[in-house]
Structure formats: C-alpha cells, structure tokens
C-alpha cells in the first residue's frame, strides 16, 4: 500500500479509485506512477478551476468596491465568465516577437505555471488530506515558491523588451528581498512547533482558537502581520505589484505574451495568492482546526478569508515605488522579523508560553 497518509473524509472515493487501478494488475513501481500521476492531475484540475474562480471573485469584489457590477452576463452574476475567458484565450493566436529568445520565451510561462502548483504537495487541505507530509514541508514550500521568480526573469529576458526586462529585474529584486522576512517570520512558528512538517505544525495548534500561533502573544501577531506583508510582495500584488506596474512598465514581464501564455502567468498569479493564503492559514490560523464542520471546510474558509484580505489590499492601496519597497523590506521588515524570531526563540527556551 503506497498511500502516504489517510484521506479521512474522502477515503471511500480514493479507495474505490485505488481498487480500480490496482485491479488492472500493474506491477508495483508502475502502479505508484499511475496513482501519483492521477493524484497530480486531480490536484491540477481542482487548482486550475479554483484559480479561475479566484479571478471571477476578484473581479466581483473589485466591482463592488468600485460601485460597479462586474461580470453579469454569463450565468448568475457571471459565474462562468472566467471559464469563457479561458476558452477564448485558448483559441487566441500566439503572437511571438521576432527578436525573442525562443527557448526562454517559450518555457517561462510553463515554468511559472508549474512552480505555482508545486507547493500544493505539502499543503494540508484537511485532516489527512495531504499529498505528501514531508518532514521538511516548510523548507520545501519556501524552495518551490521561489521558483516563480526564475520564470519571471526568464519572461523579462526572453521577451527582448525593455519594459519586460525592467519588470523581470524588479520582480527578482523584490522576491529575493521579501523572502528573507517571510522565512524569518515563518521560523518563529517552526521554533514553537518544533517541526518543519506542515501536519505537525497544524497539530501543534490543536484545540481552541487561542492555541493558534497568531494568538500566541506577543510574537504571534507580529509574525503573522510580517508574513502577510511579505506574502503580498511574494505574490506580486498591490501595494507591491511593481513587477507588472502597468502605469510605469505597461505590463512588466508579461508585456509580450498573448493568448494562453499570458493566461498561464495570470492564473499562476492567482494560484500563488491562494498558496500564500493557505500557508498563512496552516502556519498561523490553526490550519484545519475548527469545530462542528469538516476539517477541509474550515481550511478553505480560513484560506478564502485571507485571500479576501489580500484582495482588499489590492483595491484600496496605491503602489509603492521600487526603492521604497526595498527600504521597507531591508530597513524595517528584516530587523523586525529577526528581533521577533529571537524573542520567540528566547520565550521557547525560557518556557514562557502555553
């Protein structure tokens, strides 16, 4: 049996699928390959649809903030508008710049898209609902989410466009800078949970809501806030959306992309937003912990709440300038998160916590 973990609520379905695959009589290594591929495809499908719906959601939220209706034509309140958009983008012609770097230009959106999905291997969607509970889960997530910037740099370089290059360079500088406070604020949680495994971190927050790391005073709220700020920058969203600042760089790194290649960047951005929210929920908001309702429901509820917060940022705040962004990261966030980390570590050592 190769299941790494138990799928509590969805067990019967997975068992049925497993039986179906294993009844074909495949020998063992191939059986694992088939099952993991199927699992990956399932995850991919769910997240792609989720990203489409986040796009729709963002459009509705921005519309209501701005006293508009947003999409209204396709179905109830335009619920399949983004699906139609995706179909349209699939049909569109790919316009490639003649002077592009072919290899880099082609692989940048693919890489961006794949990198966005890799993090979901270790995100616990519910009790036991995780693809692989790696014992270095947090480290793994930090590693693969940073992958995105390589793709943005590739897009900026490969397009052979000055605006795109500026956008790519900006995003590289930004993500590298904000990675530091992000990791430092996550480390506080790791110190307290005593584990890098995502499941162990959620288990450390069992019980009532005051056990969540965000409510562990005084370091918890600070770590959460610094994480959210860094995560907003990591997901390239306003007020830190300088890589694609449309008023300065027209569209930044994706200026030369069209059709589905553009859509891959676009969807990856929304998947990334969901990723950082899911990590925030797992690390600070108790993950799947909650009462009465199923664990995956609680997880999704909390994640959508954090996503909503990020969306409200976007439609309320102006954009920072690139040097102010760097100053904010290095002169304010980094010292703050490291001081917080030291404080947390000291409290853990002294035993002043519950």
């Amino acid at each position: 049996m190769i299941w790494p973990v138990a799928f509590a609520e969805l067990r019967p379905i997975f068992d049925w699928l497993y039986d179906m695959v294993s009844s074909t009589g495949l020998p063992e290594p191939w059986l694992s390959v088939v099952i993991y591929t199927g699992l990956g495809a399932m995850m991919f499908g769910v997240l792609a649809v989720l990203a489409l719906y986040l796009v729709w959601w963002e459009r509705k939220i921005s519309a209501h903030i701005q006293q508009r209706f947003g999409p209204m034509r396709h179905g109830w309140h335009g619920w399949y508008q983004t699906i139609m958009d995706a179909i349209k983008l699939l049909q569109k012609e790919h316009v490639d710049v003649a002077t592009r770097d072919k290899f880099v230009f082609f692989w940048a959106p693919v890489m961006c898209f794949v990198a966005a999905f890799l993090a979901y291997v270790t995100i616990p969607f519910g009790e036991g609902l995780i693809v692989a509970d790696l014992n270095i889960g947090v480290l793994y997530i930090m590693a693969v989410t940073t992958f995105t910037i390589i793709s943005l740099l590739m897009a900026g370089w490969g397009s052979n466009n000055k605006y795109a290059l500026l956008g790519g360079m900006r995003s590289a500088a930004q993500v590298v800078s904000y990675e530091v406070p992000m990791v430092a604020s996550i480390l506080v949680v790791v110190v307290f949970a005593g584990s890098l495994s995502m499941v162990d971190i959620v288990r450390a927050q069992d019980g009532m809501f005051y056990n969540w790391f965000i409510f562990r005073l005084p370091f918890g709220p600070i770590a959460f806030l610094t994480y959210i700020v860094a995560a907003t920058a990591e997901a390239n969203r306003t007020p830190f959306d300088i890589p694609e600042a449309e008023q300065e760089l027209v569209a930044g790194f994706n200026i030369e992309y069209s059709g589905m290649k553009f859509a891959m960047f676009f969807l990856a951005e929304f998947v990334n937003m969901f990723t950082v929210s899911a990590i925030a929920v797992t690390l600070f908001l108790g993950g799947w912990n909650g009462v009465f309702l199923p664990s995956w429901f609680w997880f999704l509820l909390k994640t959508f709440a954090v996503v909503l917060l990020l969306m409200l940022f976007r439609w309320t705040y102006p954009r920072l300038r690139v040097d102010q962004l760097m100053e904010f990261a290095w002169k304010f966030l980094v010292p703050l998160t490291f001081a917080n980390l030291i404080l947390g570590a000291w409290m853990k050592y002294a035993g002043w916590y519950w």
Binding site: L166, P239, Q247, V250, W315, Y317, R319, V322
Partner: protein
C-alpha cells in the same frame, strides 16, 4: 572581480503608454530605474485647429475649439466667445454670465475629478478612478440636459449661451454640488493620509516657484508652489468678483501639494456654484448677434483660468466674418515643458507621478 559593465538605455515611453494621458511620447534615457534624460515629443495629436479656425466663421470656430481641450470644453467655448465679444464690444446679458460661471465651474470640478481618479490610478490605486468618475457623471448629466452633449458642448456662444437651462437643472445642480461636497470627504479619507500615497507624493517633483514662472506654468500646478495667482481674481473676467471665494494655494510645490490644491479648488468651485445658483437672475440668455458676425478690424487676447492653467485665445480680425489668425495657449504645453526639469534624476515611477500631478492632457499640448 572585474568591473561590471553597465550601460544606459533608451526607452520610448509612449505614444502608446497607459500613463501618458493620451499620445505623448517621452524619450527616456535611463540608468536602470533612474531617469537621466527626458525628451518629450509632441505632435501626435496635432489637428491644426488654429488653421482650421481661419477658414471658419466666428460662430463656427466654437465647436472646433471644443476639441482644443476637451476635458474642459466649456472654458474653450468661453475664452473664444470672450475674445470675440471684446473685439466687437458685445454686452452679455446678466443671466448668461451667471449660467456661464455655473457651467465653467461645473466643468472645472469635472476636470479635477478626472485628475483625482487618474492620478490615483497612475500611482497604482485603481478604485479612486471609479469614485471620481461617479460624481463626474452627475455633472455630465447636467451638461447633457442643458445642451445635449457630454464632452464637446458648443454651449457658450458669442453674446451669451446657446439656450436657457431646463427647469429641472437647478434642483439637480444643487443636489450635485451637495453630493460632491459630501463625497470629497470620502476622497480625502481614501488618499490624503494614506502612508503609501504620502511617500509616493511628498517631496516628489518639487517645482520651485521661480522655475514655474520661468517656464510659464500656470494654474493649480503653479499655485501649489506658493504663487498666489489666479486669473479669475487677478485678471477678472465674467462676474467672478461678485462671489465670495478664495484662491487655493499651497507652499511646497510637490506632487502632494498639487493634488491638494486641486481638491481645494473643487471646494471653492462648489461655493461659487452655490452662490451663482442663489443669485441667478431672470432674463434673456443671449445678446443679439448676427449669424454674419463681423467684428471690426483689430486684435485681442482673452485668457481665462481653466483647470490646467491659463487658457488663452488670440484673435486677429481683418473685418471679415472669418478670423485672420487664431492662436491658442494652453496650460498643459508649459507643464510638459517643465516636466524634464523636475522629472530628471528621479525614478521612472516618480516621473509617472509627476506627469499625473501636473495634469497634462495632450489635445491641449498638440492643438
């Protein structure tokens, strides 16, 4: 480690660029993010309006000049009518003067509301744009019910206005100005104290008053530098001297002050409109002007304060029904001239903020 070789590169910002407010092209020499040199290239929107006017009769020039500065087309109507009236020494009826003031100030508010939204959008806040346009929409409704047009009005004519306002105008106008006065609090609450807005605008693109005057900058952009100069008060035209209002000034001359001055001007315009509505007399709205309007030989220059500074029209008449020469002067042209002076040395993001805060629109630059 060998020295890294760096080089400057040239970026064409525009003519198709989201934040050049039309079709302005700026040739930027950049060192990474830093702007080393700015060369504005104008003329993409040149429609040769001045030359066209030479082949039109005087009343026919007014709709042409609507296109000169279409964000505040009322001022363009007005300034040409003013020049023609000065040439021919036409007395304008009282009611027409009041209606002109109401329309001019409404149009000024509409223009500043666009400024508010577009500036916020250039700095990255997308929501204020919709808020600004929402209130502008009420003003557009007022114009529509008056003259049937929403952008290029052809309403203010030589000798008065085209026609009287409809009965529902006055209550709707009162409602509009009270809504704007109320919503201004929302606007200010959304941006004025926002820390990101402050760091993006404070001490950015400081325009010293002497530089501003040397380059011919006028209007709110100059008043933000502390120059207390407003043509409505200093070169009085129409009936502005009858109303109680103040010239809005600020002292720092940075992007933030230019933004604040325009918000203050909206408040003053609201005051003027309310007083004008209270004092609106009955009577005719147009002096008798022949369709074959022929001013005597001579020349004149009329100037008014519009939302972007001094808007002037110079007319040379040879006594026929067509002007011999028409020359226009718009505030945006001078503000675009001063852009390289105050924008060089900053980052590209600052340049966008400065461009927005100077409130440059391209039809006025290119004519």
């Amino acid at each position: 480690m060998p020295d890294l070789r760096t080089e400057e590169f040239v970026v064409n910002m525009g003519p198709h660029h989201p934040s050049t407010h039309g079709v302005c092209r700026l040739i930027l020499t950049m060192d990474g993010e830093k702007v080393l040199k700015i060369v504005p290239v104008v003329g993409y929107l040149h429609r040769s309006l001045e030359k066209i006017c030479e082949n039109r009769t005087y009343p026919q020039c007014i709709p042409i000049l609507d296109r000169f500065e279409y964000v505040t087309a009322m001022s363009c109507n007005y300034v040409f009518s003013l020049a023609a009236e000065r040439l021919a020494e036409i007395e304008v009826p009282e009611r027409a003067e009041y209606l002109r003031v109401i329309m001019l100030e409404l149009n000024r508010i509409a223009s500043h509301l666009i400024f508010y939204g577009v500036t916020a959008m250039d700095i990255g806040a997308l929501t204020p744009f919709l808020y600004g346009l929402r209130e502008r929409e009420m003003i557009m409704d007022l114009f529509e019910m008056t003259c049937g047009q929403r952008l290029t009005f052809n309403y203010i004519r030589i000798g008065g206005v085209a026609k009287d306002i409809p009965a529902e105008f006055i209550p709707y106008c009162r409602k509009t100005v009270s809504v704007i006065r109320e919503k201004l609090n929302d606007y200010e609450g959304l941006l004025n104290e926002n820390p990101i807005w402050l760091v993006r605008n404070k001490n950015i693109g400081v325009l010293p008053p002497d530089v501003g005057i040397a380059y011919g900058v006028s209007g709110p952009s100059l008043r933000a530098s502390g120059v207390d100069y407003d043509l409505r008060r200093d070169d009085p035209y129409s009936i502005y001297d009858r109303f109680d209002w103040k010239v809005a000034t600020r002292s720092n001359g940075d992007c933030y002050d230019r933004y604040l001055v325009r918000l203050d001007e909206i408040k003053q315009s609201v005051r003027i409109i309310e007083q004008a509505l209270d004092g609106l007399p009955e009577g005719p709205v147009k002096a008798k002007v022949s369709p074959n309007f022929k001013p005597p030989e001579g020349e004149t220059y009329a100037r008014v304060e519009n939302s972007r500074g001094e808007l002037g029209v110079y007319i040379q008449s040879d006594g026929t029904k067509k002007p011999y020469r028409v020359k226009t002067r718009g505030g945006s042209f001078n503000q675009l001239q001063v852009l390289p002076v105050i924008g060089t040395g900053g980052l590209i993001a600052d340049l966008v903020a400065i461009f927005a805060s100077l409130d440059i629109i391209l039809p006025e630059v290119d004519r």
